[in-house]
Symmetry: C2
Subunit: 206 residues, 2 copies
Amino acid sequence: MTVYDDTAGPTLLPATAMAGREEPVDRILATAYELFSRRGIRGVGVNELISDSGVSKATFYRHFPSKDALVLAFLELRDQVWTVELIVAEASRRGNTAEERLLAVFDVFGDWFQREDFEACSFINVLLEMGPGHPLGKASIDYLSRIRGHIQALAEEAGLDRPEEFSRSWHILMKGSIISATEGDTQASKRAQQMARWLIEHHRGL
Amino acid sequence: MTVYDDTAGPTLLPATAMAGREEPVDRILATAYELFSRRGIRGVGVNELISDSGVSKATFYRHFPSKDALVLAFLELRDQVWTVELIVAEASRRGNTAEERLLAVFDVFGDWFQREDFEACSFINVLLEMGPGHPLGKASIDYLSRIRGHIQALAEEAGLDRPEEFSRSWHILMKGSIISATEGDTQASKRAQQMARWLIEHHRGL
DNA sequence: TGGGGCGTACAGACCGGTCTGCCTCGGAGT
DNA sequence: ACTCCGAGGCAGACCGGTCTGTACGCCCCA
């Protein structure tokens, strides 16, 4: 279910202040991205989403039948904006080979951890907030597996052994370093990157 | 602030059903442990805590001035029951040397991940649920640093290099594997343990 | 003229927290 | 030995506030 319709109009830029000129559904999604990514799901009420996006309640519920539906749309948007554009694409930009691109993930993490608006990983947040049995938790698990898919694709491109298991170990390093960064350890990316190097070495053709 | 008074009476066993014979404060804490560890903080209301522990509301607020105060007591209990007794003590039981005890942490994790009542790490949950700026989030960060303290002590006992940095890297593996287990990867403990072995090798005196 | 947007009032549930009663039990005073 | 009293526990009404979601009326503009 693709709620966001980008057949017309400018591209949605969630991080920037929306001028109020876009369509209501875009304003709602942009506000949801801002608030959900910073304060979680239960920490943001529908009324706040409505007032911040300058939309009436009826309009809100016309586009999203429930708050959970909006959360699903937010997760999909987060996958596009954060996972793909901010992490994977940026890491690919920084590395020339597949191995370099893999390791560059933690360089991107290092910059990300430094930001004052660092908000951790929304998929982990929602998963732990709602639980793995909740539909939103299951959706988060699905988006987390997509992240592993990106890693696995790079591992295959690099010709590493057992790319699926490699990606699962790699993902442990990513998630663990994010939690450490949330605790305040801004050097967590470097620690994870070092372990990631050892992981690559042990998955190279012997 | 130690709310629980163990100067008299049987030891508190949070996992078992309380027979209703204990003191009200014990029943409240046991119920809080059950519910908070499984469903988080915001997912459990004061009314449910009261009815489940068979205590009146006035009694509840006589012992705990607020819900947050109960959460703080819960975190302290969790540190004792989970961190110390379930993880550190059990890992020490399974290993003969300091290095073996370190690696046994992930064996204990492996058993823990298999349990159907696996509830992830309450400190991570509360930290992400409330945010690092909230008092409960700060308390969780403090308890997470205590976990690192246990690891660092074992690293020093094992004579490893730079035990503080070692413990921070080690903790990344612990937290990452817990998230992976929450996603459903019950083999996450083995992946983390393998990376932990490499970490030990690189921290041994060269 | 009619659909979509806006504003708002409202329903019904639940939140944390306060407060008033009633009951029981144990210990002190006579 | 009997009475009395207060501490503490139980039960539940109640408070203001917030939650998600519905409904209604008005307006604008195509």
